[in-house]
């Protein structure tokens, strides 16, 4: 018995103390730190870019520096009219990340709500939500978005609306699955036996245990949304020009690819690393929350 108790104590200590040197998952820590660091750097530039003195005007044209390769003056080179590509990436990130964040929040809120209700109430609510999810996910995603943007026009609002239609069912499905699992636990039954009201059980017992999964998947969804928005603007279907997004910079560079390959590869690399970092952070969060429960 004492060995069991000791074992449990060790496990729970590990679950709690992430700096434990013997923790086997520590080789993933530097990846997590790198990924989180990259996200912080990107966020910093995008949020404060307009006030940073060394970032040039993204729209200023310079006939002396057309389609130049990266240099000390222009870190990411220049575009076809001599605009600084780094400044354009910073400026474009505002729209790309704003769309990603807004859509993720809408997805967490609406998708989370639908999934939570479906998984907890079961019955006809579940049937309805499952039908909605299946139908939405059965429609080719990009076609749906293109359809909406074509009909409604290419405004920021419509792009967010269209991409939300991808995020909501995806998150709803994951939250529903997680809720089903949590709602079956004895502590939910125990709350019912105590006479706690249904709504209160949902908020106090179920939600806190579904939240980690939801937040982790929100990071993954953020990455998917970034790619979706960039695909749209690459196709010229996102927010209309002259508004800059990461996808539109790549699309612009593609036209004269032999002159301006840096306009495709460097913004592409920023997008790639950002999505990769979001995935790493999401994955690591999922793992870390998981340890806390399996540590029991």
């Amino acid at each position: 018995m004492s060995s069991v108790a000791a074992d449990m104590a060790v496990k729970s200590a590990r679950a709690h103390d992430i700096t434990d040197p013997k923790r086997p998952a520590s080789q993933h820590n530097w990846l997590f730190i790198l990924a989180a660091g990259w996200l912080i750097v990107v966020l910093f530039f995008v949020v404060f870019g307009r006030w940073l003195p060394f970032i040039q005007d993204p729209t200023a044209k310079d006939a002396q520096a057309i389609a130049q390769s990266p240099s000390w003056d222009h870190w990411f080179g220049t575009a076809t009219f001599g605009q600084d590509v780094f400044a354009r990436v910073v400026e474009g990130g505002r729209i790309s990340l704003f769309v990603g964040a807004t859509v993720t929040f809408i997805g967490i809120f609406l998708g989370g709500l639908l999934g939570l209700l479906a998984g907890y109430l079961r019955g006809w609510v579940d049937s309805l939500v499952r039908l909605l999810i299946s139908v939405t996910l059965a429609i080719p995603a990009l076609l749906l978005v293109i359809f909406i943007v074509t009909i409604q026009g290419q405004s920021l609002k419509n792009v967010i609306l269209a991409v939300s239609l991808l995020a909501i069912p995806a998150l709803a499905r994951i939250v529903r699955a997680s809720t089903l699992q949590v709602a079956d636990r004895d502590y939910v039954k125990a709350a019912q036996v105590l006479g706690v009201k249904k709504g209160s059980i949902l908020v106090r017992e179920v939600l806190p245990n579904v939240m980690p999964t939801l937040v982790s998947f929100a990071f993954l969804t953020f990455g998917i949304i970034l790619v979706a928005e960039s695909s749209l603007s690459f196709l010229g279907l996102s927010v209309e020009a002259p508004t800059i997004t990461w996808g539109s910079i790549i699309a612009e560079g593609r036209i004269k690819f032999s002159d301006t390959p840096h306009m495709v590869f460097l913004p592409g690399a920023v997008l790639f690393l950002t999505v990769l970092s979001l995935n790493f952070v999401g994955d690591q969060m999922l793992k870390r929350f998981d340890i806390k429960e399996s540590g029991l």
């Binding site: 004895d186 019912q192 006479g195 245990n209 806390k292």
Partner: protein
């Protein structure tokens, strides 16, 4: 053996719970699982009723159906004269504090993201002070169940299984319930911890005057804690008797087989150990449900369902050919 009947129900003003003809069925693909079939029993104030049987015999479902989780398909559950099966969800909720439950899995029954103090005080948050306990006295309650009150802000995963079960006990007692259903509360624990938890339960029961329904598949555990024992087989009652009486003279062939299966008990109870598996509860055997495995089964057992009948001293058995001492049989 396994039969119906209400002969064993008592007419006593102290009867707290009286279950009559309770049936619990679960529809599944391709049939209906008859988890509990026409089970009746009662529980007197301050009494501990042990319910024993193999896995899948419906003992957990029986106890859970008393608190309407799940609601029985038919039959009545009288708690102090109120039929719980007829109550609306909201009326039922108002009775809930009197009927508490302790679960088998000590880990899964505590929310991993709440503190122990919060978990224990949850009932008070909903209902306010009902009697013995209040928010200020949570520390005292924690001490009573053997958890250091200084650990109140810890989360359940920082405790061992036995300690988690102590926390569950505190949570069940905080509302001053009348009845506590213990669904195999020690089955998941080490043997050494089992005794501590059983002692704690007995101690708390005596101190705060509750009745227990104690479910277990372990006869030795039930023997020590119960005043009265009900043996179940495939959704039916086999035998009901006072604990000492049942263990002194097991009358049902199934009860005898269970006792013979306790290591080292063959000298006391001479009965074949059961071989075949429990029959399906979707399509149970006709007549006595135990006839497929019973050494004394006759044609009568295969067609006529036995009813519970008295064999003296508040001992009841549902069997056509009970194993009775020669003196009692003649």
């Amino acid at each position: 053996m396994a039969g119906s009947g209400t002969a064993h129900l008592r007419d006593d003003p102290r009867v707290l719970v009286r279950v009559e003809h309770m049936v619990v069925e679960f529809p599944i693909h391709g049939g209906t699982v008859q988890a509990v079939s026409d089970v009746s029993f009662d529980l007197i104030e301050g009494e501990t009723l042990g319910i024993v049987g193999e896995s899948g015999c419906g003992k957990s479902t029986t106890a859970r159906a008393v608190i309407q989780m799940p609601r029985p398909t038919s039959g009545s559950v009288l708690f102090r004269g109120t039929d719980l099966t007829q109550l609306s969800a909201e009326d039922l909720r108002s009775v809930r504090p009197d009927l508490q439950m302790i679960f088998q899995d000590p880990i899964s029954s505590l929310n991993p993201r709440r503190t122990v103090h919060d978990i224990i005080a949850e009932g008070l948050r909903v209902w306010g002070d009902r009697g013995e306990w209040s928010i200020d006295k949570i520390d005292e309650l924690m001490e009573a169940v053997g958890i250091d009150p200084r650990y109140g802000e810890r989360k359940p995963h920082q405790f061992s299984g036995g300690q988690c079960q102590r926390i569950s006990i505190a949570r069940a007692f905080v509302l001053d319930p009348k009845v506590i259903i213990c669904d195999e509360p020690v089955s998941a624990l080490d043997v050494s911890v089992q005794a501590q938890i059983l002692n704690l339960l007995e101690d708390m029961k005596a101190r705060y005057g509750v009745s227990l329904m104690f479910i277990s598949h372990d006869l030795s555990v039930v023997k020590n804690i119960s005043d009265r024992v009900m043996v179940m087989y495939l959704g039916k009652v086999c035998e009901v008797a006072g604990s000492d009486d049942l263990f002194a003279r097991p009358t049902h062939h199934y009860t005898r087989a269970l006792m013979a299966a306790i290591p080292g008990s063959r000298a006391i109870v001479d009965e074949q150990v059961l071989e075949a598996e429990l029959p399906s509860a979707i399509d149970p055997p006709a007549g006595c449900r135990f006839n497929t495995r019973c050494p004394a089964a006759t044609d009568e057992c295969r067609s006529v369902e036995p009813q519970l009948r008295p064999v003296g001293d508040g001992h009841f058995v549902a069997c056509h050919h009970p194993h009775l001492p020669v003196a009692a049989a003649s």
